[in-house]
């Protein structure tokens, strides 16, 4: 289980997170919502170790990982799909996927079939360079690449951005599958409300670097929905 307590994060003098707490449990999807610039990405960056935190604790599977390097966190089973895709532009699609092997023991170094079932286009474009793919294809590659790592915690930053509707649906199905079949803990940042609501077991809403509201998935469409929607409008 991932437990985030009271985390603060700064860019120079500017604070992006002010005492954020939330959790993500295996077999559950936790979604983080919030307007632009409220600190969602910053929170994920804190979790995967892209950016150091200046206060609070991040615990994963019982151990404090806040001081660990991103590599060690990856090796502890944290997979990351960043905002903006960040595929390796000059590696082929195959090679991009194979970068996921680094954190795996030797015996498990193969690309799971689910990746190609979910994103058939990747299978067709195995030898094309990642950077040449279309925006949506790159997004699919980024998700596929994280799946190759077979993580126990999957951190997704707006994974539906730029993806065609039919595949969004597939991604939704995939997340459900990963959650229930593979028992993964999933932390999902999402702007696309309906998509988030369909998947969420838990949610939290951020504003100006703080968690301002949280609850269970079903609560997203209930009496609390108007309040929730208010946090998402300007």
């Amino acid at each position: 289980m991932l437990e985030i307590t009271d985390v603060t994060l700064q860019y120079g003098a500017a604070r992006a997170l002010r005492g954020v707490s939330c959790t993500a449990e295996p077999g559950q999807v936790t979604t983080v919502l919030g307007r632009n610039g409220v600190g969602k990405t910053s929170l994920l960056r804190a979790i995967v170790g892209r950016h150091g935190i200046s206060g609070g604790a991040i615990r994963w599977e019982g151990a404090d990982i806040a001081r660990l390097s991103p590599v060690l966190r990856a090796q502890r089973g944290i997979g990351y799909v960043p905002q903006g895709r960040e595929v390796f532009p000059l590696l082929t699609v195959r090679e991009n996927l194979e970068t996921g092997f680094a954190a795996l023991p030797r015996g498990q170094r193969r690309i799971p079939d689910e990746v190609f079932e979910l994103f058939p286009v990747l299978g067709q474009m195995m030898n094309r360079r990642g950077g040449d793919l279309s925006g949506g294809q790159q997004q699919q590659l980024a998700i596929g690449r994280a799946m190759v790592m077979r993580p126990r915690l999957l951190v997704l930053d707006e994974p539906t951005e730029g993806i065609q509707p039919s595949i969004i649906k597939d991604i939704g199905r995939a997340i459900t599958w990963l959650r229930s079949e593979a028992g993964m803990a999933i932390l999902l940042v999402e702007q696309y409300f309906d998509f988030a609501r369909d998947l969420a077991d838990r949610f939290c809403v951020m504003d100006r670097g703080e968690v301002v509201m949280s609850g269970t998935g079903p609560e997203m469409s209930g009496p609390r929905e108007p309040e929730l929607r208010r946090w998402l409008t300007v």
């Binding site: 730029g162 702007q191 696309y192």
Partner: protein, 246 residues
């Protein structure tokens, strides 16, 4: 009758043997708002690259205002003709402040001498304030663009596009990374611009496209699969098959 602002005729482009654009033809009238949808990799962004002169087509014609051949122009030329573009992946000038990003985009002299002797004017300042307000970055106006979040950069790009005041706006996925409410608001904004200006929008968010309420072109494998109202195209089984899904 309306005059075609932009005409693509039989445009093709191949990358290493892969046909990204395949005999694509399309007409956009002056003042028209047009939505372009289609699966990932259908060639939407590449089409914009061709219109703006970033990519040269292997064959086919691209006509601006019925007479100017865009395939011979480079990016700066097309921008000067009045074609503005927002990119799928937000790209802003990171070491400039938000305000300066807008100022640099603002319509005006683009030559070396003009910029060397440029002075700020009252109207210019007012327009900047207006735009900042519109994209809700007034507070961040003095921050370097590098410090913005992903979504904020999207907004800044939209602001820069508006600042250019172009004849034709090419808008690649404006709603990505926006909340639903912002998405709707953006749709309103684009609708209000159309009429005066021509607009081509690429988006995967069907709610947004519905809100635009305009003619929709569906691209698939580099050519037009269907064209018509959203209701019309989304009822077509091919479109459902390759794009919308079940």
């Amino acid at each position: 009758m309306s005059r075609p602002q932009l005409l693509l005729d039989g445009v093709s482009r191949t990358f290493d043997g892969f046909k990204a654009i395949n005999n694509l033809s399309m007409v956009v009238d002056k003042g028209e708002l047009r939505a372009v949808i289609g699966p990932n990799g259908a060639g939407k962004t590449t089409m914009m690259d061709i219109i703006t002169g970033k990519t040269r087509p292997d064959s086919g014609k691209v006509l601006w205002d019925q007479r100017i051949d865009l395939t011979r122009m480079d990016e700066a030329d097309t921008a000067r003709l009045g074609i503005g573009r927002k990119f799928q992946k937000p790209t802003v000038f990171e070491s400039h402040t938000v305000e300066d990003n807008l100022r640099l985009a603002l319509k005006g002299g683009r030559s070396v001498w003009a910029t060397l002797f440029h002075r700020r004017t009252g109207p210019e300042n007012r327009r900047i304030a207006e735009l900042l307000d519109l994209i809700r970055l007034t507070e961040a106006r003095h921050r370097p663009a590098a410090d913005l979040s992903h979504g904020q950069k999207q907004w800044l790009e939209i602001g820069m596009l508006l600042a250019q005041d172009p004849e034709l706006l090419l808008v690649d996925e404006p709603a990505a990374g926006m909340t639903d409410a912002e998405t709707m608001w953006t749709a309103e904004l684009l609708k209000s611009i159309a009429g005066d200006r021509s607009v081509i929008v690429v988006e995967h968010d069907m709610e947004f496209v519905r809100e635009l309420d305009c003619r929709v072109t569906v691209l698939h494998q580099g050519s037009v699969l269907a064209e018509g109202s959203l209701a019309h195209v989304s009822a077509m089984p091919e479109v459902v098959e390759v794009y919308l899904g079940r």
